[in-house]
């Protein structure tokens, strides 16, 4: 074993655990910033996971698997977009339907690989020099390539939303679609594009679970609800990509806390309670954030969940 301290190991581990959440929640941020809630996230993660598994075992390339997982998530998101944007169906209803559909579909196409093992995956990539920095190095720079990629995605998403022309349009579409429309932006096209990007990222999140957390496929058990946590994280991060990273890693640490205490032999707090801790923590932080006047509703897109109809007065 290495000689790193438990704290460093815990933090490093939290990053791995948080990474699927980072991908999925940034996907959620992008889709919701365009005004479309995506409750189908869990389904998209599962589809991403199963596709990755199949493609890796077929081609032997984890990279191809990862990309395919994202595409699968994006395809499922396309269905959501069609229902929610073109047909103006209730976003909550069709998101839920999509989670059910995604779960069922993933189980169906995953039949042949039940009980099989993933044949190839990524391993950790030490970044030279940076990984030698004490404390910071082992926490941040001894991760796998996908973790670095997730940071890149978050940074890119943040710059995209805040610093680019398209990002500005995207935000306008989520805040006030009638205005965006009047400014000649295509609300429909913008929403489609970003719901699909959201699905792509959710698919990546699912891929990560298969590639780096559990190398086997077990239907809904594979993600076991982290899609919903990602959804909560979107709110917790007040729809900001960089905050998503903080929230996801915090969740990772909180998950670890339960077992770290148990492993240390500290048993005054019952395990059942500790098992609730990460969720409780998320709720508490949400409540605190909402109680604070200045951060209340910060970032919540004004037109979130509302279909856009031009002719309506």
């Amino acid at each position: 074993m290495t000689q790193e301290s438990v704290l460093i190991l815990t933090l490093a581990g939290a990053i791995g655990t948080g990474t699927p959440l980072v991908f999925a929640a940034i996907g959620g941020v992008i889709s919701e910033r365009a005004g479309v809630i995506n409750l189908g996230m869990e389904g998209m993660m599962l589809i991403g996971a199963v596709t990755t598994f199949l493609v890796v075992n077929k081609t032997g390339s984890p990279l191809l698997g990862f990309i395919a997982g994202g595409i699968a998530g994006a395809l499922l998101a396309l269905i959501h977009a069609t229902l929610a944007i073109s047909l103006r169906a209730n976003q909550i209803v069709c998101g839920l339907a999509l989670t059910i559909f995604g779960t069922g579909l993933a189980s169906f196409i995953g039949k042949p690989i039940e009980g099989a093992g993933l044949e190839k995956s990524f391993s950790k990539l030490k970044i030279p020099f940076l990984s030698d920095i004490p404390a910071v190095g082992p926490v941040l720079f001894k991760q796998d390539g996908l973790v670095y990629f997730s940071w890149f995605v978050a940074l890119l998403a943040s710059l995209y939303l805040n610093r680019t022309r398209t990002g500005l349009s995207l935000r306008a579409v989520g805040e006030n679609p009638a205005t965006a429309d009047a400014m000649g932006l295509s609300v429909v096209r913008m929403r489609y594009a970003h719901v699909i990007i959201g699905g792509l990222l959710a698919g990546f999140g699912g891929s990560y679970v298969i590639l780096r957390i559990v190398p086997a496929w077990s239907q809904a058990g594979t993600t076991n609800g982290i899609g919903w946590i990602a959804l909560a994280l979107v709110v917790f991060a007040s729809w900001r990509p960089l905050r998503v990273i903080g929230g996801a890693y915090l969740f990772g640490v909180a998950l670890q806390a339960n077992f770290a205490l148990q492993a240390k032999g500290i048993t005054v707090i019952p395990a059942e309670f500790l098992a609730m801790l990460p969720y409780l923590l998320t709720v508490v932080i949400l409540v605190v954030l909402t109680a604070n006047r200045r951060t209340r509703g910060a970032g919540a897109p004004a037109a979130l969940g509302l279909p856009f109809v031009r002719d309506e007065r």
Binding site: T164, L168, E175, N176, T179, M183
Partner: protein
């Protein structure tokens, strides 16, 4: 410069535009005048590419163009400032102006836009801080942003849909200066308004619409207010002052030391009396506590201090139902919201404030709604149309019909003629006058000084939540009132 050629447009049950043609030349300010629901906003929407005409077409500099979208229109130099602003209130001014501008680099640089905003602001007298968030700006400033937005995109033709209805008299003057500068640079301005004085003041030519058709087109120099009013409604209108003919009776509404808060409005220690057979005006620039005052009286917001008595019943902080029972009706200015449920039909909206039996009799409600539609000449396909589908002025008529239908002892009306055409204004005024002669008490809250002066027997001026002046309506001096409204007399 821009012309409409035989344009027709219909909505389910309505012919909003019918064979409409008109011309606007460069450097001209052209007014579109017409009753509520005449089709002005619809025509403007077609000229900018927001709606597609069912028949006919738009011509630009003599060439036929098919405007596909507002973006397309803007690219061709046609910009519009809507009745309801199209701004993202969470964005800054510069961000709103950058929105949808394809000439921008993909990586935004707000600096350039900010400079441009300042420059346009200076040139046309439209000062605004480019870094301010829209939600922090006054309505007048927001309107400037809308105008700058179109100018920034190089608009040569500017459509303004009822731009003055949200402005204070001072702001109207500044806006008109800007419009004149624009025209002097060869830009065309299409100006939609109900206020004949303004139309006479600012425009070169006027096109009058009625029931979706053009009924007249004339140079301002060749016409008069009265003639325009006649063209609009098809008969003579009389908007001269009307006063009580009988002496006022016993006080029906007594407000003592009222202090209340509502949304962003507050009023402190206001005392008001309205007697039977009296119209009392509350003059003031909007946002000076009118809303808190009205809602405090109507029981919609709890009083912090003070007393309200309606027809001898003390209704202080007893809620809106008690106030209603005591004989009060309240017509708020925020029509589709506080006043009406926008998605409900006209007949359902008429029912909202009634003491309903458990089972609603829809038939009689529809009959009642239909009666109101005729007496108030509401333009609508039918009683079952949702009120949000109606034009701005017609929404107000529905609300008035409902509230006056209760035959209230005490009536509070807030900006009752805001956005109404002259015919409707005349109708509302005569309605209020009729109530007065029946011995009812009316509290008229309005920013429109002309209206307050024309109707009121007594006038209070409200400024920053306080009643700062009281005077008789007969012979009230505009300047004195104006100064008091601006807080100068205190």
């Amino acid at each position: 410069m821009i012309a409409a050629r035989h344009i027709s447009k219909s909505f389910p049950g309505v012919l909003a535009n019918q064979d409409v043609s008109f011309d606007v030349s460069a450097g001209e300010v052209h007014s579109l005048l017409g009753e509520n629901g005449a089709g002005k906003s619809t025509l403007a929407a077609i000229l900018t590419g927001l709606y597609q005409p069912d028949a006919g077409h738009v011509e630009l500099n003599g060439a036929r163009v098919a405007l596909k979208s507002p973006r397309h229109g803007l690219a061709l130099g046609i910009g519009m400032v809507h009745q309801h602003f199209r701004l993202v209130s969470q964005f800054t001014v510069a961000e709103n102006i950058s929105l949808g501008d394809r000439k921008q680099n993909w990586i935004l640089s707000t600096k350039k836009v900010e400079d441009a905003v300042r420059e346009i602001g200076e040139r046309y007298g439209l000062p605004v801080d480019p870094r301010a968030r829209i939600s922090e700006l006054t309505v007048g400033e927001q309107q400037r942003v809308e105008i700058i937005k179109t100018l920034y995109r190089g608009a040569q033709i500017l459509l303004l849909d009822e731009p003055t209805s949200v402005l204070t008299p001072q702001e109207v003057t500044t806006l008109f200066d800007s419009v004149r500068t624009l025209a002097s640079e060869g830009k065309s301005v299409i100006f939609i308004s109900h206020k004949l004085g303004e139309v006479m003041d600012i425009s070169d030519r006027v096109t009058v619409m009625r029931d979706g058709k053009v009924v007249g087109n004339t140079a301002v120099a060749d016409t008069s207010r009265e003639e325009l009013a006649r063209m609009m409604v098809g008969r003579d209108v009389d908007l001269s002052a009307i006063r009580a003919t009988k002496p006022a009776g016993a006080p029906l509404l007594e407000v003592r030391g009222l202090t209340a808060k509502s949304a962003r409005s507050h009023v402190s220690n206001a005392s008001i009396v309205v007697k039977a057979g009296e119209i009392v005006g509350i003059a003031g620039v909007s946002g000076n506590g009118q809303r808190a005052l009205a809602e405090g009286i109507a029981g919609l917001t709890p009083l912090i201090d003070g007393h309200v008595t309606i027809c001898g019943t003390d209704v202080t902080s007893k809620g809106s139902i008690a106030a209603r029972k005591a004989g009060l009706s309240y017509v708020p200015e925020d029509r589709n919201g506080t006043g009406l449920a926008p998605s409900l039909s006209i007949s359902e909206n008429m029912l909202l404030t009634e003491d309903l039996p458990f089972l609603v009799n829809h038939k009689s409600a529809v009959a009642k709604a239909e009666e109101a539609i005729t007496t108030y000449s509401i333009k609508t396909p039918g009683a079952s149309t949702a009120t949000r589908m109606l034009s701005g002025g017609n929404v107000q008529k529905v609300l008035l019909a409902r509230e006056l239908g209760h035959d209230p002892q005490v009536l509070i009306v807030s900006s009752p003629t805001w956005g109404l055409d002259v015919g409707a204004v005349e109708f509302v005024r005569s309605k209020l006058n009729e109530l007065r002669s029946q011995g009812r008490a009316i509290l008229l809250i309005s920013e429109d000084l002309d209206e307050v002066r024309a109707l009121s027997d007594r006038i209070y001026v409200i400024f920053e939540g306080k009643i700062v002046m009281e005077c008789p309506g007969e012979g009230a001096d505009v300047t004195t009132l104006g100064l008091a409204m601006a807080g100068a007399s205190a």
